[in-house]
Symmetry: C2
Subunit: 264 residues, 2 copies
């Protein structure tokens, strides 16, 4: 039986999606081609091909329970292991059985009775970059306080997203910890704190703050609770291409000096 897939593309990548389908449909039964977030993806497919950047993958995985393969224009992404021009390599990897599943866990934020699941991170911040005192409590008891613009809570997957821009540590994907980072803190406290993911993180403040889940606003409130989500998503990646490869290629971290010398 032929392997089956759905193709989900970012609205500006319709042409690229069509071209990709033409290249692969001899080998893969394409059951559905749709724009990201436009309609429900057929979950009886073996996997979904996502065309776009990490952002498109981020949105797509929230509505999907099947493994995903990301294709990206330009450089590879942390969630999209193939460039659009690498379709042949993808087909070869698929035929040679070199695609491995990588499970990634998500976080859940609860506010005022509603709950949302995040792949990368939760931001809890004041409007207009004002400051506020934030209390961060773990399992309802002891904790820390920060006078800051906000607090970022990130998963290992999210450690290379906004967390990286704010100065946080890089956490490799299968680590079972969350990272908490005050955003623009007063008192030189711009270090992150790493906490086991089974702990419940409660954040409260005195000024109404906005909650962003993977960069999208979901509401404003005075307190939120963050736990490990029961949901996860599955990336399909080539077995020769892991997190460290992407870290070196995309961010240049840990690339050393020899690579640069080789390129001269």
């Amino acid at each position: 039986m032929k392997i089956s897939a759905a193709v989900v593309f970012r609205s500006d990548k319709a042409k690229e999606a069509k071209e990709l389908v033409e290249k692969i449909n001899e080998h893969i039964e394409i059951r559905q081609i749709c724009e990201a977030r436009s309609e429900k993806v057929d979950e009886k497919c073996d996997f979904a091909i996502i065309i776009g950047g990490d952002g498109t993958v981020l949105k797509a995985v929230k509505n999907l329970n099947i493994p995903i393969v990301g294709f990206k224009a330009g450089r590879i992404g942390f969630l999209a292991y193939y460039k659009l021009e690498e379709v042949d390599r993808f087909l070869r990897d698929l035929q040679e059985g070199r695609l491995v599943e990588e499970k990634r866990w998500m976080v859940k934020v609860q506010l005022d009775g509603a709950q949302f699941h995040g792949v990368n991170d939760i931001v809890f911040h004041t409007p207009s970059r004002q400051m506020s005192e934030f209390d961060v409590l773990f399992d309802g008891c002891s904790g820390l306080s920060f006078f800051a613009d906000g607090i970022l809570v990130s998963t290992p997957t999210g450690s290379t997203a906004y967390n990286l821009s704010l100065g946080g540590a890089i956490v490799i994907p299968n680590s079972d910890v969350i990272q908490i980072l005050p955003i623009a803190p007063y008192y030189l406290q711009n270090r992150s704190i790493i906490v086991p993911s089974h702990r419940k993180t409660f954040i409260r403040t005195l000024r109404e703050c906005e909650v962003l889940v993977d960069g999208l606003s979901v509401g404003s409130t005075l307190q939120i609770e963050i736990t490990k989500s029961e949901r996860y998503f599955t990336l399909l990646r080539p077995d020769y291409y892991d997190f460290f490869t992407v870290l070196k290629e995309k961010v240049g971290y840990g690339r050393g000096v020899h690579n640069e010398m080789d390129n001269r």
Copy 2:
């Protein structure tokens, strides 16, 4: 039956040790009083009292398989939860059953056939702050390269030691991850990377480098392997006094703004 303890003191704290024993020996059977590292501690005692700073505790735990309670002159330490003048509080906590055991895991470094166990960290660095290319490999395959003075590998316990000075993240004690931080890296790569502790970290370089375990030199070599140690140690701490309390009191991290306002 009376609870029993050994008292281990740093060489300059003999007077303080004597005074402490006088205060507690009505309640605790003191089976041994000795200088740190001077003789083997009687492990049939229920616990050991360590008098000195975090450094004394660091050395003492390597030769002990019984729980320890640290007493420190001046401010509390991350491994010594009582100040020397707080003996009454300690006795009250003991009698009220408020001392809880906190297990801490250690790392093991292997070099040229020898192995050493570290509570805080392993430093692998060039002599005289020269630079070298360091390859950091995980489970023998993929990894990262840094052009730097050296590499620091720390446990959660060690995250608030040298790692803190070098700009690393704070890792709460029961997290199951190690932290790897290039020391004085070239190319703006001064972020740490967080890796599950079950992974084997192999570090190699082209220039002979010194290996420090908890700050003490154990030799020089071209490559080391770091794994989670099968050894651990046990701290006794009051149940109302956890890692976050110490972090706020000792480092000022997460103390917020209200404490300072209260003190005005």
